[in-house]
């Protein structure tokens, strides 16, 4: 393989993952939280695919595909929730959706 | 394969009973039929069992989670087969009693009882720690529900204490199971070696001590035995408590030789204390169930003494006594239930004089009581004698405690018998309270017949419980 080694891809993946995590932890808009989550999932996918390349084993790619499917499912549910929130005229703010407070 | 069948039959029976919407009577009949089939299956198993070798038989082992060494592994040793035998017989009697009394929501009730039976059998057959743990826990679920839904007035409190105690024990045991399995690289009891880790052993020991219950861990016992439906109390004290003994015999002693050696004095002292404590409390208990419950606790102390004596006599004696106590305790609880059913109370003050005009009740209660107090010649006496002789090896004091307990047992059992049967009728005893009905006789007498057969030949159990009748060699692990 020419070009950068797997390690570089992994570092890239880590940085994107960290960015996504920051978004999840800092943003209050549920839409952006959801988008940040996608970012984290994609970072993980990148790592999976990088390892698959390095090991020469397709299992990693298969796994990444499964992750994509699950991410799609997650988006469907997440958007459904957001829409439901909006329908009930609730504020779109994760800090105010705290009915599960113990 | 036969072992798997013994486990699955009641579980599948429970499913069928729970799902098929039959009328009340048909449900009860179906459940009883399954229970009797289970007894029949046990007889087949006993007939196929090679008693001369006494080693692990009729088993199945299938890989389950290979990477961490979990397998579905079940099978029976001589002593497991005897314990399973006691279980299936007691369960059949309990289910029969429930059918006779007629519990509310019969489908759920009988399904739970059958499931309980299957779980207990699986516990006695488990040869893999994970299987053991799963079965041990599966046993608790129906018990929680049976006590919590069908129990007496204080059933909530009874269930809560029972849950708290058993869950603490279970969690400790889970930790120990995992720790043991991971350090050994396998969860199979057949393949794993021994461990000298005191803490892992303590996790198991406390779980078993709660289940038995041994002396300071018996806080759940008085309420649970008083509030549970009487046939559930019978199963609880008769066979569920014996899973602790199986645990000690199959896991505690063989797998943890050094911790056992370190802790034997402590366990023996606690067991002896429990024996006396239970006997003394039984002696002043104000109601029938209290007497039977505390005497049950005393007996568990006695059996534990035998186990931890860890010689041929003690171990054979404790298996024999475990089987005996299962049958005795179930008969006593069922009889208590029958008396309570007639009088509406188990208060000793309100009872009495029931012997007059009720010869069958009197005879049956007397026979059960005499076997319970270990009159010489009974199989319980044989068991106590073996345990007493065995535990003498650990110190003369223990043998003396057992001897003292014999006297106390005579005192509290006679108190129970007299309070029910003798002198003038008590205020709760109606003149027209019936003698035992044929159905009731049919429930209790088979248990007593088993006891009488064992009394005529206790060696039947004591000789065949361990491979080659070398109990101490078995627990020392050389035969694994």
């Amino acid at each position: 393989m020419s070009g950068p080694g797997v390690g570089w891809y992994l570092i890239l993946s880590a940085v994107v993952f960290g960015t996504g995590a920051l978004g999840v932890m800092l943003r209050r808009s549920p839409l952006i939280v959801l988008l940040s989550l996608e970012l984290m999932l994609n970072a993980a996918n990148l790592a999976l695919i990088a390892f698959a390349r390095q090991q020469g084993d397709l299992d990693g790619q298969v796994f990444a595909l499964a992750v994509m499917a699950v991410a799609a499912a997650e988006v469907a549910i997440g958007l459904g929730l957001i829409v439901a929130l909006a329908r009930r005229d609730l504020p779109l703010d994760v800090d105010q959706a705290s009915a599960l407070k113990g | 394969m036969l072992t798997t069948a013994l486990i699955l039959l009641p579980v599948l029976g429970a499913l069928v009973v729970a799902i098929v919407p039959l009328p009340r009577l048909a449900t009860a009949g179906l459940a009883l039929l399954v229970a009797l089939l289970e007894v029949g299956l046990w007889i087949v198993a006993a007939a196929r069992f090679d008693w001369d070798s006494g080693g692990l038989q009729l088993g199945t082992t299938r890989e389950w989670v290979e990477s961490v060494g979990i397998s579905y592994s079940v099978g029976l040793y001589g002593f497991s087969l005897w314990l399973v035998g006691a279980t299936v017989i007691v369960s059949a009697a309990a289910i029969g009693y429930a059918a006779w009394v007629g519990r509310e929501r019969p489908r759920a009730y009988f399904a739970l009882l059958l499931f309980l039976t299957g779980a207990v059998v699986a516990t006695f057959a488990a040869q893999d720690l994970i299987v053991f743990y799963v079965a041990f826990e599966a046993m608790l679920i129906p018990l929680y529900v049976l006590v919590g839904v069908w129990g007496g007035a204080r059933r909530q409190a009874a269930t809560m204490t029972f849950v708290v105690y058993t869950m603490v024990g279970s969690l400790l045991m889970l930790a120990s199971v995992v720790a043991f399995g991971v350090t050994q690289g396998t969860f199979s009891l057949l393949e794993s070696g021994t461990s000298d880790n005191l803490w892992i052993f303590l996790g198991f020991a406390i779980a078993f001590a709660v289940k038995a219950p041994l002396f300071p861990f018996h806080g759940w016992l008085p309420l649970a035995y008083r509030e549970a439906p009487v046939e559930v109390a019978a199963v609880l004290s008769a066979v569920v408590s014996k899973t602790a003994i199986y645990g000690f015999l199959r896991i505690g002693l063989p797998k943890f030789p050094e911790p056992v050696a370190d802790l034997t004095p402590l366990v023996l002292v606690l067991a002896a204390a429990g024996l006396l404590y239970g006997s003394i409390l039984a002696f002043r208990s104000p109601d029938l169930r209290g007497i039977v419950a505390y005497s049950s606790m005393a007996q568990m102390g006695l059996i534990t003494l035998g186990v931890f004596a860890a010689n041929d006599l003690g171990l054979d004696g404790s298996v024999l006594q475990a089987v005996n106590h299962a049958l005795v305790s179930a008969s006593m609880f069922l009889l208590v239930g029958m008396v309570e059913h007639r009088c509406g109370t188990g208060e000793l003050d309100a009872l009495g004089g029931m012997a007059r005009g009720r010869p069958v009740l009197a005879t049956v209660l007397l026979v059960a009581g005499m076997i319970a107090l270990a009159v010489p010649g009974s199989t319980t006496f044989a068991g106590e004698f073996l345990i007493m002789t065995g535990v003498y090896g650990e110190g003369w004091g223990y043998a003396a405690v057992v001897a003292l307990a014999i006297v106390l047992a005579a005192m509290y059992t006679l108190r129970l018998i007299s309070a029910v049967l003798h002198v003038q009728p008590g205020r709760a005893v109606r003149r027209d309270a019936l003698d035992l009905r044929p159905v009731e006789v049919g429930l209790v007498v088979p248990l007593l017949l088993c006891l009488l057969v064992l009394s005529a030949w206790p060696a039947l159990v004591s000789q065949s419980s361990f491979p080659g009748d070398r109990a101490s060699a078995f627990v020392e692990g050389s035969s694994r």
Binding site: S2, G3, P4, V6, G7, W8, L10, I11, A14, V15, V16, F17, G18, T19, G20, A21, L22, M25, L26, R27, R28, P30, L31, I32, L34, L35, S36, E38, L39, L46, I49, R53, Q54, Q55, G56, D57, L58, D59, Q61, V62, A64, L65, A66, M68, A69, V70, A71, A72, A73, E74, V75, I77, L79, G80, L81, I82, V83, A84, R87, D93 | -
Partner: protein, 182 residues
């Protein structure tokens, strides 16, 4: 020469990835945020190609950027102006903690990678030409990972049903209320 080209493409893709990622998180309008994520996905697809994952790259673009993000944009548009929420807010302690946690994770990963750098991270296995082709992946899915495949499909189905239920329930209740009022 080929090496240099690959490095160049890699740098471009990586730069796009990081920049668009930062944009996703930092832009205050979800609409732009979603657009930035599309750019992010496109950069990723390029990286996948470099890693011989042709099928995944295509799927990434078609499924993710194509359909999932479109759904996103639809929702953002549907919610309209109300969707705006303040960027951060909350106690400053929270913000600090979030930063610390994210940086800690990053540092840890980098340290771990650094520890393992010398092992065999830089000498990837030899692969055949079919590596990452739809055929190879499809074969794996229908043989070794059949169960995972089926379960994924069930998850998707459940998610679809869930989405429908989440979207429809309140409207029905609203209708009933209207009827009752009328």
């Amino acid at each position: 020469m080929g090496d240099v080209l690959v490095w160049l493409i890699w740098f471009l893709a990586a730069g796009g990835l990081l920049a668009s990622g930062a944009a996703v998180v930092s832009v205050s309008n979800p609409f732009y945020s979603a657009l930035a994520l599309i750019a992010n996905l496109a950069s990723l697809a390029v990286l996948y190609l470099l890693l011989s994952a042709e099928f995944l790259a295509a799927a990434q673009v078609l499924v993710y950027a194509g359909s999932v993000m479109v759904m996103f944009l639809f929702v953002v548009a549907y919610l309209g102006g109300r969707a705006d929420a303040p960027w951060a807010g909350g106690p400053p302690l929270l913000r600090t903690a979030a930063l610390v946690a994210a940086i800690a994770l990053l540092v840890e990963v980098v340290v771990v990678l650094g520890l393992a750098w010398g092992d065999n991270l830089s000498d990837p296995a030899e692969i055949s030409a079919a590596f990452g082709s739809p055929g190879a992946i499809g074969e794996l899915f229908l043989t070794d990972h059949l169960l995972a495949f089926e379960i994924t499909s069930i998850v998707l189905l459940v998610a679809a049903v869930g989405g429908v239920i989440l979207g429809t329930t309140p409207r029905r209740r609203g209708e009933n209320e209207h009827r009752r009022e009328a």
